[in-house]
């Protein structure tokens, strides 16, 4: 007989061991899935996890790409994690990411073709502001009218996507683009470009911003009273009230900060790797960041590791897809397994497994 027994305190050991266990279980189950598909599981896993980092043919290109792909994930997940810790659920980072990119790009393009060095910083500010404003909608609706921020922020993603489509074919469309949708190429406009800062590393300003955000979040959580309030509000809302936490302010702060960070990620992407505002500009960073936040245990350092791991599965997954002919759906299922196993083994953090007969209580 196997029984689960609730722990008095969540296990600290398991809190850190479960992500590792989840990764191992994913490797095993994923390998099985690849084998069932008729692919060599070892070759598949090697292509996903080893080749992008060390293969002579690809690594010099893939390794920097790891940072390019991980930076927006880490930037967004860091903001989300602060809110998640306080029990404030911003599910709409994807929308804030889009609006950040739109505001930033719009602010810059309004001054095209200026070559002022102030253009890029201004676009970054506008991007952060845009993400912040979009997140203020669920925040204010929650504090004023007690709406559910999960629903409001999620549904605003779809509003943002339609705004994006409208902007890409309308207001922000490249007038020299022959009637095709999509803005001017921002990465080819030096005043607005977000280039690789050190050649061969993939590091652009978004990577710098992600590192700063992680350090800032770490200090905030560990050393600052506000960080203590965030943790307290998540663990025990009643105790938090007694400690003088104003829940409304916390909602505004957490949603606003995560929105601003998502907006930053958006504008760095639009001016850098993506290069332009197009109808399909958003590729799911805002949603994947939720997985990254949880995989990283809502801890800034954990998020960095989780973001890099997630990026690796994307880049390696693409390699495996065309090198070995693995369907892309299998790669996505593989990524999904990671979150699934993490949530499944999370039980171990809060529960103890008891083998043997359950004692009969008198």
């Amino acid at each position: 007989m196997i029984a689960l027994e609730k722990r008095a305190q969540p296990s600290r050991v398991w809190a850190w061991a479960t992500p590792l266990l989840a990764v191992i279980l994913t490797l095993v189950a994923g390998g099985l899935m690849f084998a069932v598909l008729g692919k060599d599981p070892v070759a598949a896993l090697r292509t996903i996890f080893y080749d992008p980092l060390f293969d002579a043919q690809f690594a010099s290109y893939s390794r920097p790409q790891l940072l390019v792909k991980a930076a927006p994930l880490i930037l967004i997940a860091t903001g989300l994690a602060l809110g998640f810790r306080a029990g404030i659920w911003n599910i709409g980072a994807e929308g804030q990411y889009i609006i950040g990119a739109l505001c930033g790009a719009g602010a810059g393009l309004a001054l095209y073709p200026s070559d002022s060095p102030l253009i890029f910083p201004m676009m970054v500010l506008a991007g952060a502001l845009g993400g912040w404003l979009w997140a203020m909608i669920p925040a204010i609706l929650k504090t004023r009218f007690h709406t559910n921020e999960i629903l409001v922020s999620l549904l605003l993603v779809y509003v943002a996507e339609n705004l994006l489509a409208s902007m890409a074919v309308g207001t922000l469309r490249n007038p020299d683009g022959g009637g095709f949708p999509g803005s001017r190429n921002l990465s080819q406009w030096p005043a607005a470009a977000n280039p690789e800062l050190i050649p061969g590393t993939g590091a652009h300003w978004g990577v710098v911003a992600a590192i700063i955000a992680v350090i800032f979040a770490y200090i905030l959580l560990q050393k600052h009273l506000l960080g203590f309030h965030i943790r307290l509000a998540g663990q025990s809302p009643r105790a938090a009230r007694f400690a003088g936490v104003v829940p409304e302010r916390l909602v505004i702060f957490c949603l606003g900060l995560s929105g601003a960070l998502a907006g930053l990620a958006g504008i760095f992407e639009a001016t850098g790797p993506a290069g332009q505002i197009s109808i399909d500009f958003n590729v799911g960073y805002g949603f994947t960041a939720i997985i990254v936040a949880f995989l990283g245990r809502l801890h800034p350092i954990g998020i960095v590791l989780a973001g890099l791991l997630m990026a690796l599965t994307y880049i390696g997954g693409e390699l495996a897809s065309f090198m070995l002919g693995i369907p892309i759906a299998a790669i996505q299922a593989f990524q999904g397994m990671l979150l699934f196993f993490l949530l499944a083994v999370d039980v171990l953090t809060n529960y103890r497994i008891r083998l043997g007969r359950r004692e009969v209580r008198a």
């Binding site: 043919q57 690809f58 010099s60 290109y61 893939s62 790409q65 390019v68 792909k69 339609n162 489509a165 409208s166 074919v169 309308g170 469309r173 022959g178 009637g179 095709f180 949708p181 999509g182 190429n185 280039p195 690789e196 050649p199 061969g200 992407e269 790797p273 993506a274 290069g275 332009q276 197009s278 109808i279 399909d280 500009f281 590729v283 880049i315 693409e318 390699l319 897809s321 065309f322 090198m323 002919g325 369907p327 892309i328 759906a329």
Partner: protein, 358 residues
Amino acid sequence: MIRRRTLLGAAALAALATGAFAQDDKTKVGFIYVGPVGDGGWSYEHNQGRLAVEEHFGDKVETVYQESVPEGADAERVMTQMALSGADLIFTTSFGYMDPTMNVAAKFPDVKFEHATGYKTAENVSNYSARFYEGRAVQGLIAGRMTKSNKIGYIASFPIPEVIRGINAAYLAAKKVNPDVEFNVVWAFTWFDPAKEADAAKALIEQGADVVLQHTDSTAPQAAAAEAGNVITFGQASDMGEYAPMPRVSSIIDNWAPYYIDRVQAVMDGTWESKSTWDGIAPGMVEIGEISDAVPADVKAEALALKDAIASGETHPFTGPINKQDGSAWLVEGETADDGTLAGMDFYVEGLSGDIPN
């Protein structure tokens, strides 16, 4: 300074690439698809072209592909990785891959690129597309003859010239045989999203449309029409023959195989040159899928006659007099549209209602 560094980086990448494809003498051909190969439409047909290349060249060729690649930064990475893996020729099969293709091509001067449905070229980048509007005219004729409600629904994807051209061509042909016909265009803002496409089809049918045309790639509108009954549809990009004879009464089939085989051969022979290709019904790039028995024999004969006339060059789907939607003159009596205007078409012709979103 930054620029020089980028160039140096590019040179290093190119050197790597050259080293990589010297390893074997097989010609390696890569394909990048915007949808899953099982979409039953656009990407499916490109993949059929890839399989035809494999069958034609056998051991002399190796093909690789990547499906469901988002247009943008991810596409650029996938292309680069493919080039690094030693591909000699890469087909990028969606409009949104245009700038990524140009960027990657600049880094790999020895790799040839072929971009579908765009307008940019470079020393090692060709572009190719099909004159789908010729097939749209045939569809429009059948639609105009078949509709009883005189309401034709049209699921459009993105407001780009290719799509607008298709709407105009279908409308002109329908109007010619049925002056009372009305078009109701829904913009789905996606190439492939079965749920969205099904919703669009249902909405159009509820508003009275008994013919639904689609410029999106899934078979979801066909399924929605089958469910509604008494609504006809046309296969898009692929035959979608599993929905024949009703609701699918005909289709436009993109046949990329001859072009792909031709271009791979050119790379093998060392005769590949950058060019722009825009082929239609005549060379077989656009095919009209079998017109089913749900269409009366006389309508079928009329449609096939139009198809032959377009193929022989006797009829052009855009022949004046045609006015633009705002009433201004576009083509005078007997004048046919030039390719430049068609390639950049951003207006509706007179008679169509609604606005092109922008």
